[in-house]
Symmetry: D2
Subunit: 340 residues, 4 copies
């Protein structure tokens, strides 16, 4: 069977992560995330991202993390602004609205949104009959594989501050964004230029888990109660602590992400050589445009996801992961070459 | 350091569970729980519990499972009946009410509730101004370590049917209940005498995870959508499938539970010999009554949980687990002996 | 002071409505809507709209009615489809999302939506990660003053049935729609071609109140409990019953609506004569396009609402009501004439 | 037919209230509660109750008001403390829990609750697994007709402050409490000793409506948005403003309440004379203990509500209202006399 390029969460975990879990198999720990592994992992993470007064909350999955943070910050008459392509808007079964919060969408530009777009939206939603915008949600890397530049993040941050909006960064693929060759955002910018962000483990070689970093101290109050109330507090919280400790104690987290990006670069180079149209993306998600029959074949054989169906042509997504190898890439490229 | 008897979720997992995860480390799987491990595990579980038309949903934790199933079944004007000691009532930070559902409590009798008590409650809540009772929630084993007899379960089941109530069994410690020496409930009774129940992994040697079994087909419709909507769908669902597959492919799940029960029996025997007052419990949770200073010492040294504080006397909880050894038990008994 | 054309809910009520209330001032009635006035009013309404198996629920306001019916019908993973201009989407402070339900918007065509648009949306939202469309919400008359033809309603109804969607008609201005000269919908079509609709009182000369008619018997179960649970059950339900009894015992409801429409026709005729650009609308809401300074003046003097601000030009709304007189219309026309 | 003593909301409204509505029948007003009548009424009310920095929000009903204020103040992991007999706990179809908030009950003492009881409850609910108590809810007069003394209110207020709890007073029958002969609470104490309270109109001769007074300025922020979001903002808000203006511009509100109390006193005197057992209540609700067959007869003839069914004996409730007359009272007494 061919290596599947469906997504970056179809293999359990990097060996070092599973080894760490095995190592502490029978160690007795304080439950609910108050253990020393979680404490260590928190310190590593706060240090890495320069969040001096931040707190880290380990959660199980991305949708859950978005749901928890948004529902914590907003009142039901307040809304969250997102790109129309935003994960919370299209891929979470209305988890945010299901919890009681309206998403106000802005047309994405290469997966990203900008202050002037949000400004327009604020002007339309400004009385007691409309929802009150309260948060900006962005993803980095975005749902279309692009990344925000340092300037873009700072612009959003400043706009948010000026308009009393929170800025929240979905980092399900933060590793891939930060290790991208085109990236100019420093890790410590994350601690500075947003109210909260999360560090995705699930899509970067951990068994499961996301580390939500809340920089804004006002948004830390009783957050543990909130986690428990939403049924999201893992009894064995140290299962998350151990993984993130391992991922951040030295550079494993970024090594895994860099590897996935490198594999994507190889795919891109290979595809370019054989004339396949690729949308701009400097991370581990690639979107390519192919004749319908070829696309369908690749979906079948390599598990690619269909993105846009334009009749004769089809956009499909290729995702590399921590476990993708050069051989896997070669196999994919050769296969496509033969189809063309 | 002494072995801690604080609870049964303070060690990561049994070696066999972690080995299974390591074994499939890099295997590529369909995400979101639609993989073959989850399918295998489902079959084992349905077969074990005799649920011919049931479906299994793997979730991450107990509070989450309670929250998800209750919120799926009820409308906001409907309520769930539980013992005043019920986990959903006292230990889940209002997760059920936080999702919009009232809990109607009934005074527990040794942790259990009975049809005649529920009948009284139905008579009081019977018009448009009161909440409409719609579900009975019980735990087996209960929060005080006791278990329901076969007859008690059947009585509740029949009462529930006659009154159009769902019966839902919280099986966070189902293994311990079913392997108790006093148990007369057959495994296959679970498939017959309730609308749904869950098989707790977290408190029985798995890394994490609960298997919710929904016997009632009407309550299966779109349940996956509901899971996703609540942020509870694990991307790497196969991480749960692999664990439950391992636990149920042969008898591991019940072996681990039987071991914990056996260790509790040893504790009980040892304590009885030295004259400590023990509340009736045939499972892996024991509640003992001790002079305050001794109780406080044991809380400090063995991590016991304080249960009831009666001033001079204190009830504390001892919990054994899959990893407790005879030596651990001896150490505990000897320590208490010296204190008395 | 000039008569204000801001909206149709800025005068308390028609004299006959208030007289009816005064008449029954001290009559003792069964509370919570179970009185004989409410029963009479229900019969009149079901009869008028040909809803053989329907039930009527009297509620206080339009947003409340939308919120109550939508939240009754949907699970949190289900969504409601509406025009982007739909009242629930833009003018209810996220009341629907605030209760936990996503609105899926479709670009309006003259305030209306069509099956082929909804079909497209269903194709995009068809897996466990997306919200599951479950209801179509339309308004008649629409938020832009237009009305649905009989054929358009039947098409939506058939599409909804074929796709297991509920069809719900917001009739906050149903009177105006049905008495419009361009209308070809029969009153009894309302009883046939949707799951539920409501008959707006607030915007048609009643003190307050909307009559929700649920044709679909499956959607009547425990609806009273739902009303109570949402805090929307009026203790003195007969205050609503008396008003709707008066409005429907003979033809008052439609007389009031027809009057408002007639006044709008006069406004239209007058404006056309003096060359003002008017958007198509056969009901009591008119939208006109004017130079900015004139528009601003009219907003100030006649309380018109600003609709779209295009810089040099501005679209403003004129609304007539049961209490608007010919003299009021003449005054408005003359005033505008002088400004031009 | 005999005058019904079922409750104080079974007659529409006092003549003066309806006359005021008729008087302003066609006056054009700013909608949504921003009209001058509402402003006048607010001033009268803030002045009457000595709430210097308070704001008044006019709402439609009592359950709605409780639901709105509680849901505004609390996070879902926080709970509200109430007497077990509290209206929110037993008579609102779980409206509070349905919105996502747990009610923590305390056994009532004559319908009232006390700091030492709440203290106990705080001690039990003090970690991340339990709900976090955040508000004390009391009713004055209570659901059993009793009233809080000035000292009792101040004690609760001080306890609340010391423990960072809000104090909220349900004043559905505040008029009756304040005009009771046993009352020693001053009107201006309401402005001082709680975070919010409401002034019930529905049960005191208004057509409908409750005036929520929020003393605590932190709890006023965006409250209008919250009202709109919950579907509780009346388009014709001035319909409430006009009523409360009339009720408070001179003393009508308290006159109506005093009248109801006086009628209750007459009932009490009459019943005492003929030897009927009456529970202590200084307001317009009386609870009497009667042989079952007599109680059932009175329920049938005078519409009394059954309160407690003790087999041979039955407690029933008698409620007087603004419209009850001396003749009505005599009729009731005579009727009972004959039955005994």
């Amino acid at each position: 069977m061919h290596h599947q390029f469906r997504s970056d969460y179809i293999e359990l975990a990097d060996k070092r992560i599973l080894d760490a879990l095995s190592k502490y198999s029978l160690e007795q720990n304080i439950p609910y995330g108050f253990d020393y592994h979680s404490e260590n992992a928190s310190k590593y993470i706060l240090n890495t991202f320069g969040s001096a007064e931040g707190r880290v909350y380990f959660l199980e999955g991305g949708t859950q993390t978005n749901l928890l943070f948004i529902s914590y910050c907003l009142k039901h008459y307040e809304g969250v602004i997102a790109a129309d392509t935003g994960h919370i808007n299209v891929h979470e079964s209305a988890a945010v609205e299901g919890s009681g919060y309206k998403i106000l969408t802005v047309p994405n530009r290469n997966g990203k949104i900008y202050p002037e777009q949000i400004k327009e939206l604020l002007e339309k939603n400004n009385d007691v009959h409309t929802v009150k915008p309260r948060m900006i949600y962005i993803s980095n890397s975005t749902e279309t594989g692009t990344i925000y530049s340092k300037k873009e993040i700072i612009d959003l941050h400043e706009f948010a501050k000026a308009n009393k909006l929170y800025l929240f960064i979905d980092g399900a693929r933060l590793g891939s964004a930060l290790t991208s060759k085109e990236n100019d955002l420093e890790k410590t910018d994350l601690g500075k230029y947003c109210d909260a962000f999360y560090v995705g483990g699930t899509k970067n070689g951990l068994l499961f888990g996301e580390a939500l970093v809340v920089n804004n101290q006002d948004l830390q109050i009783d957050f543990y109660n909130h986690i428990k109330n939403k049924g999201a507090m893992l009894a064995k919280g140290y299962a998350l602590g151990i993984q993130f400790e391992e991922a951040f104690k030295d550079n494993l987290y970024f090594e895994l992400a860099a590897h996935a990006n490198e594999m994507a670069s190889l795919v891109k180079a290979g595809l370019t050589k054989i004339g396949v149209e690729i949308y701009p993306s400097p991370t581990n998600q690639l979107f390519i445009n192919l004749p319908r029959d070829i696309a369908l074949k690749l979906i079948e054989v390599f598990g690619l996801e269909k993105w846009i169906d334009n009749g004769n042509m089809m956009v499909v997504r290729i995702v590399t992961s921590f476990s993708t190898t050069k051989e896997d890439v070669d196999d994919l490229i050769n296969y496509i070459k033969e189809l063309l």
